[in-house]
């Protein structure tokens, strides 16, 4: 059975082995069993369509050539043949039924997330992803890291243009990973072609699916449901690594998270808050508030020289923590930890000539978030 699978894939792939540039023409076979099954279903139905097309168009072009009026063809006068019509209705039905059987089998497999080794919660947000390793207390956001100057064309574009993030999703190979997908705002869709995982992230609901990656590597995808302005700028990057490496990585991240949480209680200096704040701003805030805090009024206010922001720290902090209802500004209380919030508020209060000299401590933020 495996041999049959292998060879049928090989034959199906054959026509597409024509060397072309670095881009693909066809769906990837991918690195999971499901992705391979989907690829085979795709190629099978494709070849069936090609065969039917050749038959139908062949008959058609033959008729167009052979029975031209200009060549003096005389029209026959038949216009019905029940047997032929029944046959050409029944045969497609049989072909489709034949396709439906393996399609059903694959779909059932895709719908079975039971016995997973790891659960990851994926939350779509405008316009980034948030990943949470359930039960491990490790969570982070993952934002586009392609520099804006590449988008505007001022700098040369790299090979992974628009498909780079600051914090990729790290997963172990050979383990069943269950995904729980939802959204904080509008409908997004999480997609990695080589894993053949795509599912809508619907606000207020949790969708389940799973993956078992067979090969280590870096796999890139994009948001696949129109979600507003930066729908095209919230990619997905998965680093699939060997199981041992993954166990080490997750232990490291757990420790770092705990350190971060303990970091909430100490006093931070302005310089470290500014550094951390700038990184946070460029990952999270820049898509709406733009580089330099220039904003994009009226939807996305400017932060640089913003008088109310400069005058009223409490108001500023509240907007970041709790969002602004009726506007696009989300609440970051659950997305960013108190250190990140304190840092980004400190940064925006002091950057671009705002120069308030204010320092916001993570402990203050933590208290406010807990209220």
């Amino acid at each position: 059975m495996r041999a049959l699978r292998y060879w049928s894939t090989y034959i199906a792939v054959l026509p597409f082995l024509v060397p072309t540039a670095s881009y693909a023409w066809n769906m990837p076979i991918g690195v999971t069993d499901v992705s391979g099954d989907i690829y085979r279903l795709h190629m099978t139905i494709f070849w069936i369509c090609v065969a039917i097309g050749l038959l139908v168009f062949g008959a058609m072009f033959y008729s167009l050539f052979r029975y031209r009026h200009a060549k003096g063809a005389k029209a026959a006068h038949f216009h019905e043949n029940t047997l032929v019509e029944v046959l050409w209705t029944a045969i497609p039905v049989l072909i489709l039924v034949a396709m439906a059987v393996p399609a059903t089998a694959t779909l059932k497999q895709m719908y079975d997330p039971s016995d997973a080794d790891l659960d990851v919660m994926i939350t779509g947000q405008q316009w980034r992803w948030r990943y949470e390793y359930m039960g491990e207390n490790v969570a982070f956001t993952s934002s586009l890291s392609t520099p804006r100057v590449q988008i505007s064309g001022e700098e040369k574009r790299g090979e992974t243009y628009l498909l780079d993030v600051d914090n990729p999703l790290v997963l172990p190979v050979n383990r069943k990973v269950r995904f729980l997908m939802t959204s904080d705002d509008v409908i997004h869709s999480w997609w990695v072609p080589e894993l053949a995982v795509k599912q809508d992230a619907v606000p207020g609901f949790i969708n389940e699916n799973w993956v078992r990656i067979n090969e280590p590597g870096i796999y890139r995808g994009q948001c696949a449901e129109l979600c507003g302005m930066d729908h095209g700028f919230m990619p997905v990057v998965v680093h699939a690594i060997e199981e041992k490496a993954f166990d080490e990585w997750i232990a490291e991240r757990k420790a770092a998270a705990e350190k971060e949480i303990s970091g909430i209680d100490r006093d931070w200096k302005l310089a470290e808050l500014m550094e951390r704040g700038q990184a946070t701003y460029e990952a999270i805030c820049v898509s709406c508030h733009q580089p330099g805090g220039k904003g994009s009024p009226p939807a996305f206010p400017a932060l640089a020289g913003n008088e109310q922001l400069i005058a009223d720290q409490a108001w500023h902090l509240d907007r970041v923590i709790n969002g602004v209802s009726g506007a696009a500004m989300p609440a970051f209380r659950d997305t960013l930890n108190p250190v990140e919030i304190a840092a980004v508020v400190t940064y925006t209060r002091n950057a671009w000539g705002n120069d308030t000299g204010d320092v916001v401590q993570p402990s203050v933020v933590a208290e406010q978030v807990d209220q």
């Binding site: 881009y23 693909a24 066809n26 769906m27 499901v34 989907i38 279903l41 795709h42 139905i45 369509c49 039917i52 097309g53 139908v56 168009f57 008959a59 058609m60 008729s63 167009l64 031209r68 200009a70 029209a75 026959a76 006068h77 216009h79 019905e80 209705t89 497609p92 039905v93 489709l96 396709m99 439906a100 399609a103 059903t104 779909l107 405008q126 988008i151 574009r157 243009y161 628009l162 705002d185 409908i187 869709s189 997609w191 053949a196 995982v197 795509k198 599912q199 809508d200 619907v202 606000p203 207020g204 995808g221 994009q222 948001c223 696949a224 449901e225 129109l226 302005m229 095209g232 700028f233």
Partner: protein
């Protein structure tokens, strides 16, 4: 304004009523008011067709803005926000203001002529149905100029992007769609009333040309589903303005409910946009193959089967929202089955050609291209029906390729085929054959250059509705953009052909095409303003 029908032609004449002149007008208004107040099915048909042609170019310009931005990676011309408005408006205008009114215009012109009726059943309602459209689309287009911009959530306007996160103009968008929807419903009522009540004596339902049949079935579909669209956009209105939570999970609602309601309308809608095309092609191919349509009866039954099945497949647009497995399987099976009656129609057309006597006038060229290219769209549709595979196709350019193949070389080519076919009847002149051939070949090349690469872009991983893309999609996008400008420009040829045809050209007799059989070819070309004021003697042909 176009001078259809030409002033020199008599206002009253029918072949069967040489004795009497029925004059029910006191004084005909002149100039603009003539067109504002007309209740004549031919003039209203012309209004619909001219409206749809101009909207075709408006929607086309929006598409060119999109393709210009997508010509190369990076953001060069417009910002992502405006890009989303352009893709949204392109879809809305093409679906609601170009394709649907074009078919309605052809229906208005041709249904009374094909069934031997003097006009539509409800002429004043007919006028009202038309004039609702310029109002609706002026309103819709004006949203682009409102603060916050126009609709930017895709022509499918999923909640909550289109409710909680939508621009202020959305309420106007909803109103515009309501008005257009009313126009469609009233038009559909008119068509059903006309077809069921006003056929010439002796013409049974099964003697009607297939264009009339497909419109009869389409009209029922319209009446069934336009109210559902009205319902869902009203629920949107409530969510946006009156604090309800139909589509807001935080308030106890469900965004996926929106999708169920929308696609319950949306799927029959796409059949509404293609069944009349099947009717047109089913008239043209027998004419130019000089052979009766193969399996007329089966064609009628297959159309009815398609219409019925179209109510059972809607969630194939939603394979990825998290449907339960049983639902997913049900919709996969029903969707695969609907391919059968559609495929059967293609076989019927090809068999009509077999052993016919075929000539290649412009209407036939477009009809033949329809058969080939629509079928290619149908193949990608069958591929999309395979639900597990759809997990890779959904919301990529593979889907965009599929629906553009069935709509552009599908519906639009059929409309143009119908226009070339019936222009002699409308104007009294044949369209210029040379120019029409140029239009045809440039269109075929343009359409394939634009949309074929999209299959590959989608399979390679390019999502829909993005203003910028990763480098591996660059070559496909460049070819598509070149194709789009090529195709868009070549449509100007169509306008030129139509304008020249209205003003003059080779004179066309009543029966403009040798193999044409239906009733419209028994009245003079150009058709007088009033025809069949006395019902014609209908004689069943040997079918």
């Amino acid at each position: 304004m176009a001078k259809l029908p030409p002033k020199s032609m008599p206002l009253h004449s029918t072949p069967a009523a040489a004795d009497g002149q029925l004059n029910t007008h006191t004084a005909l208004p002149k100039g603009v008011m003539r067109w504002v107040l007309t209740t004549n099915h031919k003039e209203i048909g012309t209004l619909y067709l001219l409206f749809s042609l101009s909207m075709f170019f408006v929607g086309g310009v929006f598409a060119l803005v999109v393709r210009a931005e997508l010509f190369q990676p990076g953001l060069q011309l417009i910002d992502p926000e405006f890009f989303n408005q352009m893709t949204t408006m392109h879809g809305l205008i093409m679906v609601f203001a170009a394709v649907m009114p074009a078919f309605t215009g052809l229906a208005n012109w041709m249904i009374p002529l094909q069934i031997g009726a003097p006009d539509m059943a409800l002429p004043r309602l007919n006028n009202f149905s038309f004039w609702l459209l310029p109002v609706a689309f002026t309103l819709l287009l004006s949203t682009l100029l409102m603060p916050g911009g126009g609709p930017n959530f895709g022509w499918t306007f999923y909640a909550p992007l289109s409710t909680t996160y939508a621009p202020a103009s959305t309420t106007f968008f909803i109103l515009a769609i309501h008005i257009a929807g009313i126009s469609s419903i009233l038009g559909a009522i008119n068509i059903i009333a006309t077809i069921l009540n006003m056929r010439a004596p002796g013409m049974r339902l099964m003697d009607m040309p297939l264009f009339v049949w497909t419109w009869l079935i389409t009209a029922f579909l319209l009446i069934a589903v336009m109210p559902v669209l009205a319902g869902v956009i009203t629920m949107m209105l409530m969510d946006i303005n009156f604090g309800t939570n139909f589509f807001n999970a935080a308030g106890g609602g469900d965004p996926v409910l929106f999708q169920h309601l929308f696609w319950f309308f949306g799927h029959p809608e796409v059949y509404i946009m293609i069944l009349p095309a099947f009717g047109i092609v089913s008239a043209i191919i027998p004419t130019f193959a000089r052979k009766p349509l193969f399996g007329y009866t089966s064609m009628v039954y297959a159309t009815a089967a398609i219409a019925l099945l179209s109510f059972l497949v809607w969630a194939h647009h939603m394979f990825l929202v998290g449907l339960p497995l049983v639902a997913e399987l049900f919709f996969m099976y029903s969707t695969m089955l609907i391919a059968v009656p559609t495929g059967v129609k293609v076989f019927n057309w090809v068999t009509t050609l077999f052993r016919g006597s075929i000539s290649f006038e412009p209407p036939m060229l477009f009809a033949l291209a329809f058969v080939v290219l629509f079928t290619i769209g149908g193949f990608s549709g069958i591929m999309l029906a395979i639900a597990p595979a759809d997990f890779q196709y959904h919301d990529t350019y593979f889907v965009v390729a599929h629906f553009h193949y069935v709509l552009v070389p599908g519906a639009i080519f059929a409309i143009m085929a119908g226009a070339y076919y019936w222009l002699p009847k409308w104007t009294g002149h044949y369209p210029n054959e040379r120019l029409a051939q140029w239009h045809f070949w440039l269109s075929v090349i343009g359409v394939n250059l634009t949309f074929f690469p999209m299959h590959f872009a989608g399979l390679a991983g390019m999502p829909r509705r993005i203003p910028d893309y990763a480098l591996q999609f660059a070559d496909f996008n460049m070819v598509s953009s070149i194709g789009a400008f090529f195709f868009g420009t070549s449509q100007l040829l169509f306008v030129i052909v139509v304008v020249i045809c209205v003003r003059g050209g080779k004179k066309a007799p009543a029966k403009a095409w040798e193999g044409a059989e239906d009733l419209e070819w028994s009245v003079p070309s150009p058709a007088p303003l009033h025809t069949f004021e006395r019902p014609p003697k209908f004689e069943r042909s040997t079918s």
